[in-house]
């Protein structure tokens, strides 16, 4: 399906083929920057709740492609606070922009926006529901580290660790990863296990899912360790929380004996589930992961703004066409 004009609301809307197009284009844009590709286009960033990381990454991606940005990063001084409906805010902003990136505290807000907007909408996070560009950047990071993900030559063993019950990022990443040749290992404290519907989804795609609550054992048994935060409010008993938090803390010593190519990812911000001494090891990859948000978001913007063929080949910019004619 062509990307031009499409909304990016949920990872469920992206097929395996779509994901491959996004990853390949991100790689191309990283290798060959296109400073004029989106010249003359305007991105609206509608952040009804703050998320500096996501917003800055989108704005940087747009500006590196020659586009410009308008928007707000805090809804407290917008018409939304004066009682304007989300639908009306979108109809208004829509008139000024070629693409909308939005973040909203309520689940389903981006879907609703996509139904009223006449320009494409990218979901930058809707409550606890979806954050598809985070998933794309996670997948891109993994595909850069392990090209076997896309060629399928050998299974990639990915361990999800931490709060797998409520963790939006792991659910979405599981959905995306299970389109590819992977084996999944779930490492969660009791009560925070991966919900059965995601295990069933993986199995329906022929992906085996194993469980092991012992983080130390899991560290030695995977190619990618995807860590997430444990949130205290998920635990009824604070004593239990502190006990479990201690057993889900990764430090440099725990990495001794891990596979040489093991890489650790984390959606950030980390609190203390990854000790800072891990940062110095070859296994730490979470800062590189965050940086991959730029090419991935550039790829998504280029695709939905119609600057590529459906296969993800960049269309020539006007400047390049001019060069071609004079040569």
């Amino acid at each position: 399906m062509s990307f031009s004009g499409r909304h990016i609301v949920s990872i469920k809307d992206l097929s395996r083929e779509d994901l491959i197009v996004i990853l390949r284009l991100a790689q191309q844009l990283e290798a060959e920057p296109q400073p004029d590709l989106l010249a003359g286009t305007v991105m609206g960033t509608l952040f009804f709740e703050p998320s500096t990381r996501t917003r800055l990454s989108f704005e940087s991606a747009m500006q590196k492609l020659g586009g410009s940005v308008i928007g707000f990063s805090d809804s407290s001084n917008t018409s939304a606070k004066k009682g304007e409906t989300l639908a009306d805010t979108i109809r208004m902003v829509n008139a000024y922009t070629d693409v909308i990136v939005m973040r909203h505290p309520q689940e389903g807000a981006a879907r609703l926006a996509s139904e009223v907007a006449t320009c494409p909408v990218i979901n930058g996070g809707d409550g606890a529901n979806q954050h598809p560009t985070q998933t794309c950047l996670d997948l891109y990071t993994i595909s850069k580290l392990f090209p076997q993900l896309l060629d399928g030559s050998a299974p990639l063993r990915v361990c999800f660790a931490g709060d797998l019950r409520y963790g939006r990022t792991v659910h979405s990443l599981l959905n995306a990863l299970t389109h590819f040749h992977t084996e999944l290992l779930c490492c969660a404290p009791r009560g925070l296990e991966m919900p059965s519907r995601y295990i069933e989804l993986a199995e329906s795609r022929g992906i085996r899912v194993e469980h092991n609550a012992d983080l130390q054992e899991c560290v030695h048994d995977c190619d990618i360790l995807y860590m997430t935060r444990l949130q205290e409010e998920r635990f009824p008993d604070p004593v239990e929380f502190h006990h479990i938090k201690a057993s889900y803390r990764l430090d440099a010593q725990a990495l001794e004996g891990a596979r040489d190519h093991l890489r650790i990812l984390h959606p950030l911000p980390r609190v203390n589930e990854i000790a800072t001494d891990v940062d110095m090891t070859k296994h730490a990859h979470y800062f590189e992961q965050a940086a991959n948000g730029i090419p991935v978001r550039q790829a998504l913007l280029s695709l939905i703004l119609g600057k590529c063929t459906p296969e993800g080949t960049l269309l020539k910019t006007t400047a390049e066409k001019g060069k071609g004619a004079s040569a």
């Binding site: 409906t85 989300l86 639908a87 309520q106 689940e107 389903g108 807000a109 409550g127 529901n129």
Partner: protein, 151 residues
């Protein structure tokens, strides 16, 4: 068998909704009938095989149900059967048809769903027919259909 008596009054013309789970009968009666309707309700009715759980039956006189009402019944009681009665005879009988999606007939059970805060018609897709489970098209959460609040 000598003891068999009609547990709910017969109607000359109208609709009989049968095989309702007892927990849904009263709720369904309130969505499909209004004050001017002649309605007969039976609940926890036992068949001759008393080991089986009871069921609910609603008979509504001189009324055939709209698609909108039928889909609300389907959401609450997907295994119900619908009989159309004309002149005391069953002229049409069959299981209720469960649509693939439900629009504007139920509230989303997720309090933080945008549909509970903004101007928006709810929409649910069926993801599992038995037990009937639906997914909110907005917040993407799954709900057992009988847990939703019907509008």
């Amino acid at each position: 068998m000598s003891h068999r008596v009609r547990q709910v009054e017969a109607i000359a013309n109208g609709t009989v909704i049968d095989h309702l789970p007892p927990s849904t009968t009263l709720k369904i009666a309130s969505v499909l009938a209004d004050h001017s309707d002649q309605v007969f309700i039976g609940n926890n009715l036992k068949s001759s095989d008393t080991s089986k759980p009871g069921k609910g039956v609603i008979k509504i006189a001189n009324k055939e149900l709209s698609t909108n009402v039928l889909s609300r019944i389907a959401l609450l009681a997907p295994e119900a059967t619908i009989n159309i009665i004309r002149d005391y005879k069953v002229t049409a009988k069959g299981p209720i048809s469960v649509p693939r999606s439900f629009t504007g007939i139920a509230l989303c059970g997720n309090h933080n769903c945008i549909t509970n805060h903004d101007e928006c018609t709810t929409r649910f897709h069926v993801i599992n027919p038995k037990p009937l489970t639906v997914c909110c098209a907005y917040c993407e959460r799954n709900f057992p259909a009988d847990e939703l609040t019907i509008l």
